[in-house]
Symmetry: C2
Amino acid sequence: MAQVKPMRADARRNYERLLKSAADAFAEHGENASLDDIAKRAGVGSGTLYRHFPTRQALLEAVYVDAIEALGDRADAIAKELPPGEALQEWLYEVCVRTIEVRGLKALLGAAVTDGSNAALTACGTHMKSAAARLVEAAQREGTLRGDLEPIDVLRLAHGVASAAELANGGRPRIRRYLSLLTEGLRPAED
Amino acid sequence: MAQVKPMRADARRNYERLLKSAADAFAEHGENASLDDIAKRAGVGSGTLYRHFPTRQALLEAVYVDAIEALGDRADAIAKELPPGEALQEWLYEVCVRTIEVRGLKALLGAAVTDGSNAALTACGTHMKSAAARLVEAAQREGTLRGDLEPIDVLRLAHGVASAAELANGGRPRIRRYLSLLTEGLRPAED
DNA sequence: GAGTTAAACGGAGACAGTCCCCGGTTATCT
DNA sequence: AGATAACCGGGGACTGTCTCCGTTTAACTC
């Protein structure tokens, strides 16, 4: 899985520089930041950028793998602190928050749960899906989550909640509300 | 509300032509179709396009006003055929279907329910919101919809459902499922 | 530490899209 | 028919994407 051949020193240096300025650029200008500009900031030619990262998606993924792995880890940390149903709810909340706040992450997470998406994204997708599966299955065993739900449906719906909340001014405060509406349903409470 | 001064004959002709080729182009290439190309297809210069429609949003809106008004009308038609709760569900279904299938409409409907969105979009937004309000309030009176929901929240959540369904291959078949999950909630059925 | 070589660099340039400007045209009114 | 204000249209500046290929350089050998 690791690099078959170690990269040449200059290649490695440029790779890291690109990653760093890409992170800055995406944070500053969103996921459509100019690629040539990213190369310029990193002090390399655009050819170098395109050699290391053939597509914008590839660069986006490289920049945000860490964030996605962190989300996977959070799933397990939360699972240790809360009962399954609440743990899932809380994890989905964090996923939505990141989706909205980390500019550029939304497209990536979206692609990760899209059918027939780019093979290069499978790593992220797998990571998210397996984290979701652990929480979903635990909640189902506990009986607080419908048994007929697939983890990927839950992830897609969370993505939808993030999209919905994003439409409201400020976004973030609406996440909890929309997420609980999703959990509880739109019908009147019966208790 | 109407044109204060009637348009000059040539201006009107170009306006209509642009609208027609824009509709074709958006349907064919999605909402990012080339504007210069649209002008070319319509047989006018790009200057003419930009004079009539200063921004892509403006053009998108002009192209889809009809579709949006049709959705508003559908709300009333459905309300006459079904009990309030089901009517809302059915209308949201149609909204989601259009959102996904009519390329270019998604951005517009999204902007229409976004806080602080462009003033030019207010017409569409108002139209959708009032249609939603009628159905939402009827369902609330009937007691099949939570009383603490604002129409705009319902629209945003529907937009979210459309986004979620879009991630699944083919999209459309998932709409009904995701919509009913939203209505019923993710907790196990109690009946 | 000089020589060799394959890997990596980088920026010029082809291409596509957006948007504005302004000389020329034309509908409309009298 | 002539005056005029509105409108047309395409040339061109600008920005962004992505590739190609002559040049540089790290890494390895002796």
